[in-house]
Each structure stands twice: as structure tokens, then as C-alpha cells.
């Protein structure tokens, strides 16, 4: 079965069952490996992408539901003006440890800052608590979101 998806500004024809989660189409059909598999249940945020700018868990998103949407993954977030700033500060502050969750963290942080350029600590807790970092980089994630905000 074939359907079309708009991913990172390009239309892609996908041959997969419409129920297939977007995560697996990104990773294994389109070879966009930046979006990660952590739990398969929407509980960890490692697979966070933007669907029309909204942070969304790709493991819980059947491709049939996003045929008309603009899908953005970590591979294209540098084209997003705030996404680029987030990436820059993430590098400056050496945020990752193992790094596995960081694509998802960056996607969630970019979505937060796009909607709310000067988030409070409480806003950060609300927006980011769906993204697990097993290594515990939370102090640097929080500091980096504030640093981006100072630069907007």
C-alpha cells in the first residue's frame, strides 16, 4: 500500500501499511535514524518529531493520520530558526551524555521555545517531563533552554 508523507519539506512515497507507526517509517524506510526508539508506548519521548510544529511521539502516530501534515525530524531542525539556536546551545553546553534521548529533547525544547520564547522553570517542567533522559542531563537541559530564551 502506498501513501504520501511530507517529511522535512519533501514529499515521500511510502510503501507501508497505513497503521505503521511513523517512527518505523522514518527509521527503517527513509533511513532517518535520528528519531529514536525507546519504549514504543509514548512514555519516553525519544521518538519526538514535529507534526505541524507540535511535538509528537512518532511511535504512537500511524502514518495514515499524518498524510496532510508537515513532519519535521531532528535531521531538519537546523532549518528551524529556534531549532538551530537550540542545537547550538546544546553543543556549547555539552548537554548529552549517552545522547540517545537528545533528538527528542531538542525537538521538545524547540517546540516549547517556539510557542513560549521565555519559559519559566515550571513551563520547562510541563513541556519537557515527557522526555526521559536516563543519564540525568536535566540540569544542562534546563540551563540550555534558559540560555536559548536569553538569546531570542
Amino acid at each position: 500500500m502506498s501513501l504520501k508523507l511530507n517529511i522535512n519539506g519533501t514529499t515521500k512515497t511510502i510503501n507501508a501499511h497505513p497503521d505503521t507507526p511513523l517512527l518505523w517509517v522514518l527509521r527503517d524506510e527513509l533511513n532517518l535514524k535520528g528519531t529514536k526508539f525507546g519504549c514504543g508506548a509514548g512514555l519516553c519521548g525519544a521518538c519526538t518529531v514535529h507534526i505541524d510544529g507540535v511535538a509528537t511521539r512518532a511511535c504512537q502516530t500511524p502514518i495514515s493520520t499524518v498524510q496532510k501534515a508537515h513532519i519535521t525530524t531532528i535531521e531538519a531542525i537546523s532549518k528551524h530558526p529556534i531549532g538551530q539556536k537550540v542545537q547550538h546551545v546544546w553543543i556549547e553546553n555539552d548537554v548529552p551524555q549517552c545522547g540517545y534521548c537528545q533528538s527528542g529533547q531538542i525537538m521538545s525544547a524547540t517546540a516549547l521555545l517556539s510557542k513560549n520564547p521565555h519559559p519559566t522553570d515550571h513551563d520547562i517542567d510541563e513541556a519537557m517531563s515527557g522526555n526521559v533522559c536516563r543519564c540525568g542531563t536535566y540540569p544542562r537541559i534546563r540551563a540550555s533552554i534558559h540560555a536559548v530564551a536569553d538569546n531570542i
Binding site: P21, K36, A41, C44, I91, C98, Y100, I124, R134
Partner: protein, 735 residues
């Protein structure tokens, strides 16, 4: 990704001389990388003619930062600009690189001096090349960030321009290599960012799960949910007909793993498909009859009942006996008695276990996020019945380790599946697989009694430790060492031990043993201090006594032996940092708790401040940490990461992580039931490293053990409720 691996595999090893041996590392071994045309100075360092400096990182990277920190040690002594250094993962070859593993905070102490010498040796060879070229004495030459300088003749040459000649120099005797004075360090002790950070932030495919080979297939492996269960029947013909499924492999472990080694193959069914999702979907259609085996009736509830029963009997064995605890407890002015317990725990690294394998012509290549790649290599060779040299393991970045990837079961499974499939295969576990087929942090039960004299001095301590055994041996990482604190500081002390027989795989988890025993003893000692009417800090300093080293083995060991002075110093430092002495001024239900612990060569004291709401919910306001891991912090950025990561790891464990067993199987299956710490729970953490004149040691583990008891002791101070069982039940903390 695949291009990078091709380069790695094409390396050839030349052994040019055997004189340069330092510790386990033979660094006068030249490795050429055909692709980069670099000149190999030694096993770790190559320099191209155009001045590109490539340093191999020998150990697996799992988020602990070793990929960056070990090359920093080499670059410091080589005397180059860090910005000019490129890092590559070394191939697996312990005969050249020494032990290549990630565990026990060992990488730094095992490699620090040897890698300094390897860097200094390469620098000496480059100087020798310059001296030859310029016809001047080598000892008149100096170096400055990638250049050799001869001041008298005003000659200056880049390392790159000398590299070809340097590669032909004889390596100096490591015993005679001169090392930098640490006060002249320009790289070590700096904040250096992780080498892969930019790739991570761009979402580049650098993790094991991202490995992709041409014509690769995807596998899932269904095992019996009950440990030790065996396969009876499966509807494999139905599964073979499902969309995109290419192979169904029935695995009978009795043929390959008759002894039931936990790392060996287990009974199950592998489904191989054109995509992982197709394989995972097909799995839902499996109809399997299992023989659930001898452990099907096991449950956590029953373990607790057995422990209680054993506690009423004498211990089966004694780990340690000093003085006469029985008499001393009878004659003590005051006694304190308490039962402590902690649960099985899963490692929950965010990247599920996975391994990509390609079997062809009697040889196999594996790409794995392994913490113990050489063990995996051996197990695969034995399983497939092929020589070790026909098993090539590439170490690929792992999404967290925490000890789980010290076990090689996922490599063994991938190898077996690949052997039965005519294509490369990526085996990927689901989160449920990962949580239900772990090598768990063992649970444990402690029945403690302490005796105090009339002055409140601890004179006697008894622990009856009920732990777990597999085939009548203490289960992996379920032991207690005879030097366990406060051994050697209490005149009448008895560590007794009994075992509950079970069949669940256990293994090391970050700060193995200490992550649990720290909670037990540091909580109990806090309890004892309160009973004695003493400030827990004063009680600790009295217990530690004068500054001295307590030798635990037959002969002194500077790394392992416990030094009371180093512990006093971190305690006094953290007390100052946290304003410990004014803690009584805090509002009601807000309080501080203190704990300290020596593990994996590191000394840590930690204070936690909590505020407990009337509904029992816990807010962790702040954490203060003082640590001593010796004379040098390798990478300040990485060290801060490890310290804070360990603290947050421990808080997460205490607040919401337990694995329970029912009907022989793990009850929990995902992050709703085992709760990783989240950003809204993560407190600010202040820290200080005391730099002391001691060996440079590691930091993966030692900051973790004190945080759990410090939290629990703070909760006691805030509420009067003593936490004697983990994870913490907030319902007990209501006002």
C-alpha cells in the same frame, strides 16, 4: 556508518618491537589506517603529513564519556592542540590495547598512567625525528602544541612534517619516559565537550541501533516470560506466511547451552522480517506453549516471606566476624534493631538491547553496544564453534549502559539468528523484552542490630543479610564484601549471610552492591546516631576516628583500602557547603539528610534537602556533593556529568523503581511501571571535588551510593518516618 566500519576492518596491525610495555598496554605497536594514510606513531596515535592527529579510544562508549576522556590523556602528553585531535573507536584487540571494557569505574585507574606514557612516548619519538633531521641533540628540543622547537637554531617544525620519520623511531623505554608536571596541563582538567556531541545533536546515525547494512533484515526474539522455561510448541508455519516475514527460527537452548548459562542462548522463537515493525507485528500472532520450568511458582512476596523465616534462624555463613557481637549486644546500654530491604531493579538504558550480525563463510561480524565486547566475542565463537579470530566485534556507541551491556546475551542471540539467515540481521528488543529479560540488580534483606555504650558509642553491630543464590552460589552481584562499611571501625561486628535459591539472572548495576548496601548501612547508622542523641555528622566523624588507612586484604592496596581521613574531608566539606549546622532553622517538614560512602575507589559525602507536602509528596529542594577521586579530574565537563548523573540515577531508583516477580515472571513491562526520573523531579546539585594527592580514579559509580540514604535520612528528619524499604512509598509520609 558502513563506510566507517569498512575502514576499521581494513586496519592491519604491525608489531614492530616488543620492548615498550607498560602495565597491560603494549604501545609500541603500529597500526596503519589505509584510508587516512597516516603515520602510526604507536597503537593509539597516528599523525598525517598534513598534521591531522588521530587518537584511538580503546574502550566502549556508553555515555560515560570515555571516548573523549581517554584520548585527552594521550593528547596532553603528546602536547597537541585538542582542536586538532580526531578520535576513532579502536578495534577490539585486547592483546594490543589491554582490557577493553566499560565497567566498575575502572577505565581511568586502569589507563591513566599507561596512556600518559603512551602519549609521552609518541612525543619523544617525534622529538627524536626532529633531532635526527636537524642534527641536534634531542634533549635540546622542546615541544609546543604540535610543534617541535630547537631554540638555539630557531628551528620549528610541525608534528605532521616529522610524522613519517617519527614513525620509524624506536619507542623509548616506558620506565624512562618523562611525564609533564600536572601544573603545566592544558587539556586535562579542562571542560572538554564530548567528541560526538555535534553528531548527536544533528541526529546522525552513530548508535548501535542505527547500524544499517545492505540487504539487512530485522529480527525479534520471543523468549519464555518465565526464567528457565522451555519451548514445547509454536505455530511457526502460520508465522512464516505473515507479510514480510522471511524466516522463523526455533531455538532450543538445551542443544547449545546445556548448563543454562544466563548469557547463553535461551529457548525461544526468532522472527526475521523485511522490517522490524513487520517482525514485531508477526510476534503478536505467535501461539507458543511453554514448559514454564522449576521457577514458575516464584514471587517477590514469597521471597520476602522466606527472608523473614531465614532471619529467625542462624545465618548459613559468616562474611565477617570481629570480637563477640552476641555478648556485646547483650551488655550494650542501648540497642537499635531494624529490617531493611530493597527490590530487584532493571537497568532501563534508553536504547533497548540490540546487535547487528552478519555470518558468512564461517566468519561473523557483529556491531554491538557492548560493555564487555571481548566476552561477547568468546561466547559467540563458542556458540558457533568457530575460532575467535573469525568473530569480529565492532564497538558502537550505546544509548546508556549502567552495567546491563556487560552481559552479552543479545550478541549471542544475534549471532545465532544470523547464522540461520542468509543476510545481515539486526536483532532489536522491545522495551518489554528489555525490562523482562534483564540481569537485575539483586534484591536483598538485612536484619540489623546495633549496640551503643552509655556514651552513645557504637560498640556492636550485627547484620543478617538474606540474599539470593543460584545453584547454591551467591547470585551475580548479590554478595557483600567483608570490608563493607563500618567493618574495621566497630570492635564487635558480625556479617552473617543466608540465601534464597532462585533462577533469575542478576548482574552488576551502576555501583554494584554499593547501590544497595549504601542505602542499608548509611540509613541504619543514621538511625543509630539519632538513637544515641547525636548529630549524624558528629556520629560519623567519631566512628571514622583518626586519619588512617584500613587495609582490608592481606597487603596494602592504595586503590581499595579505605582511608578515614579522605572520608572525613568530604564529610566536613559537604557539611560546610550545605550549611548543615543551621539545618534546624528550616521550616516544618523541610529537612536535610546526610550520607557518605566509599566505593569504586571514590569517597563521596552528600546532603539532600527535602520538603514533604502534607499529602506525602516529596520535593527534593537541593543536593550538595563533595567527592574525592584523587589528584586529577580528567575532564571537568564529563566529571560533572557523571557526578550529577549518578545522583539523579539514585534519586530515580529511590522514588520509583522496582521489579517484582509473580508466577516466575517480571510484572513490569514499561516506563509507566518502572519510573525513570523526569526533569520536574531533578533538583539543583552543587558539587566540589577535593583534589588530593592520591591515584586518579573513575567516576561512573562512586557518587551514586550515598544519595539514596541521604534522601531517606532527610525524609526521616522532615517527617519522623524511617524509610527501610525501597522504593519510597509516599503514602507513608502524609502529615
Amino acid at each position: 556508518m558502513s563506510h566507517h566500519h569498512v575502514n576499521t576492518l581494513s586496519r592491519r596491525t604491525f608489531i614492530s618491537a616488543s620492548l615498550a610495555v607498560s602495565g597491560a598496554l603494549m604501545f609500541d605497536i603500529r597500526i596503519t589506517n589505509a584510508a587516512s594514510k597516516a603515520n602510526s606513531i604507536n597503537a593509539f596515535i597516528s599523525i598525517s603529513d598534513d598534521n591531522k592527529i588521530t587518537i584511538l579510544s580503546k574502550n566502549p562508549e556508553i555515555g560515560q564519556g570515555i571516548q573523549t576522556s581517554l584520548p585527552m590523556i594521550l593528547a596532553e602528553e603528546l602536547d597537541v592542540e585538542w582542536a586538532h585531535v580526531q578520535i576513532e573507536q579502536a578495534p577490539l584487540n585486547p592483546s594490543v590495547f589491554g582490557r577493553q571494557h566499560a565497567g566498575g569505574s575502572n577505565s581511568t585507574p586502569e589507563n591513566y598512567t599507561a596512556l600518559r606514557k603512551a602519549g609521552a612516548s609518541a612525543r619523544a619519538m617525534i622529538i627524536a625525528a626532529a633531532a635526527t633531521q636537524w642534527n641536534v641533540p634531542a634533549d635540546e628540543c622542546t615541544t609546543d602544541k604540535g610543534y617541535v622547537i630547537h631554540a638555539n637554531s630557531k628551528k620549528r617544525a610541525s608534528y605532521g612534517s616529522l610524522a613519517a620519520l617519527a614513525a620509524q623511531q624506536k619507542a623509548p623505554d616506558p620506565a624512562k619516559v618523562s611525564l609533564k608536571d600536572p601544573k603545566n596541563f592544558t587539556i586535562l582538567g579542562q571542560k572538554i565537550r564530548g567528541y560526538d556531541v555535534e553528531k548527536i545533536v544533528r541526529g546522525e546515525p552513530i548508535f548501535a541501533i542505527d547500524v544499517t547494512l545492505p540487504h539487512m533484515r530485522y529480527a525479534v526474539f520471543e523468549k519464555c516470560p518465565v526464567f528457565g522455561g522451555t519451548l514445547e510448541t509454536v505455530n511457526s508455519d502460520d508465522i512464516k506466511k505473515l507479510p514480510d516475514v522471511t524466516d522463523v527460527i526455533i531455538v532450543k537452548a538445551s542443544e547449545t547451552n546445556p548448563k543454562g548459562d544466563f548469557q547463553g542462548l535461551k529457548d525461544g522463537v526468532a522472527i526475521v522480517a523485511k522490517s522490524w515493525w513487520a517482525a514485531q507485528q508477526a510476534r503478536e500472532k505467535l501461539a507458543i506453549t511453554w514448559n514454564e520450568g522449576p521457577f514458575a511458582h516464584h514471587s517477590s512476596e514469597d521471597y520476602a516471606r522466606q527472608a523473614q523465616e531465614l532471619s529467625t534462624q542462624n545465618p548459613t555463613t559468616f562474611v565477617r566476624r570481629d570480637g563477640d557481637a552476641t555478648t556485646a549486644l547483650t551488655s550494650a546500654a542501648t540497642t537499635v534493631e531494624a529490617h531493611y530491604s530493597y527490590p530487584l531493579m532493571s537497568h532501563i538504558g534508553l536504547e533497548p538491547q540490540n546487535c547487528t550480525a552478519h555470518f558468512k563463510d564461517g566468519k561473523i561480524n557483529l556491531w554491538a553496544p557492548a560493555q564487555n565486547p571481548d566476552v561477547g566475542q568468546k561466547l559467540v565463537a563458542e556458540l558457533l564453534g568457530i575460532p575467535l579470530e573469525n568473530v569480529t566485534v565492532t564497538m558502537v556507541r550505546g544509548g546508556g549502559g549502567f552495567g546491563r551491556r556487560l552481559q552479552s546475551d543479545f550478541m549471542v542471540e544475534a549471532a545465532w539468528i544470523a547464522k540461520h539467515v542468509n543476510a545481515p540481521v539486526k536483532l532489536l528488543w522491545s522495551r518489554q523484552d528489555d525490562m523482562q529479560h534483564d540481569f537485575y540488580r539483586p534484591a536483598g534483606f538485612h536484619y540489623l542490630k546495633a549496640g551503643l555504650d552509655k556514651d552513645g558509642t557504637l560498640t556492636a553491630l550485627r547484620d543478617h543479610f538474606v540474599t539470593f543464590g543460584v545453584k547454591h552460589k551467591v547470585a551475580n552481584s548479590a554478595n557483600m564484601e567483608e570490608a563493607e562499611f563500618p567493618a574495621q571501625l566497630v570492635p564487635n561486628l558480625e556479617f552473617g549471610q543466608s540465601m534464597i535459591e532462585f533462577g533469575i539472572p542478576t548482574g552488576p548495576m551502576r555501583a554494584p552492591r554499593s547501590n544497595a548496601l549504601g542505602f542499608v548501612f548509611q540509613s541504619f547508622l543514621d538511625e543509630v546516631a539519632h538513637k544515641a542523641g547525636k548529630d549524624p555528622l558528629d556520629f560519623a566523624l567519631t566512628l571514622l576516628g583518626e586519619r588512617r588507612t584500613l587495609t582490608s586484604g592481606d597487603k596494602p592496596n592504595a586503590l581499595r583500602d579505605f582511608n578515614t581521613g579522605r572520608m572525613r574531608d568530604v564529610l566536613e566539606t559537604v557539611a560546610k557547603m550545605s550549611s548543615w549546622s543551621t539545618r534546624h532553622e528550616l521550616p516544618k517538614r523541610t529537612a536535610k539528610g546526610l550520607a557518605y560512602y566509599f566505593s569504586h575507589f571514590g569517597y563521596f559525602a552528600e546532603v539532600v534537602q527535602v520538603s514533604i507536602a502534607t499529602n506525602g509528596s516529596i520535593n527534593i529542594d537541593q543536593v550538595w556533593v563533595a567527592g574525592d577521586i584523587g589528584a586529577q579530574i580528567v575532564n571537568m565537563s564529563g566529571a560533572e556529568h557523571q557526578l550529577k548523573g549518578a545522583v539523579l540515577d539514585g534519586l530515580g531508583q529511590a522514588l520509583g523503581q522496582a521489579i517484582t516477580i509473580k508466577n516466575g515472571r517480571v510484572v513490569q513491562s514499561n516506563f509507566d511501571e518502572v519510573q525513570p526520573l523526569r526533569i520536574n523531579q531533578a533538583p539543583p546539585i552543587d558539587y566540589v571535588f577535593l583534589k588530593t594527592n592520591n591515584a586518579v580514579t573513575g567516576l561512573g559509580e562512586p557518587a551514586l551510593p550515598p544519595i539514596l540514604p541521604a534522601l531517606c535520612n532527610a525524609i526521616f528528619a522532615a517527617t519522623g518516618q524511617r524509610i527501610r524499604s525501597l522504593p519510597i512509598n509516599t503514602a507513608d509520609l502524609k502529615a
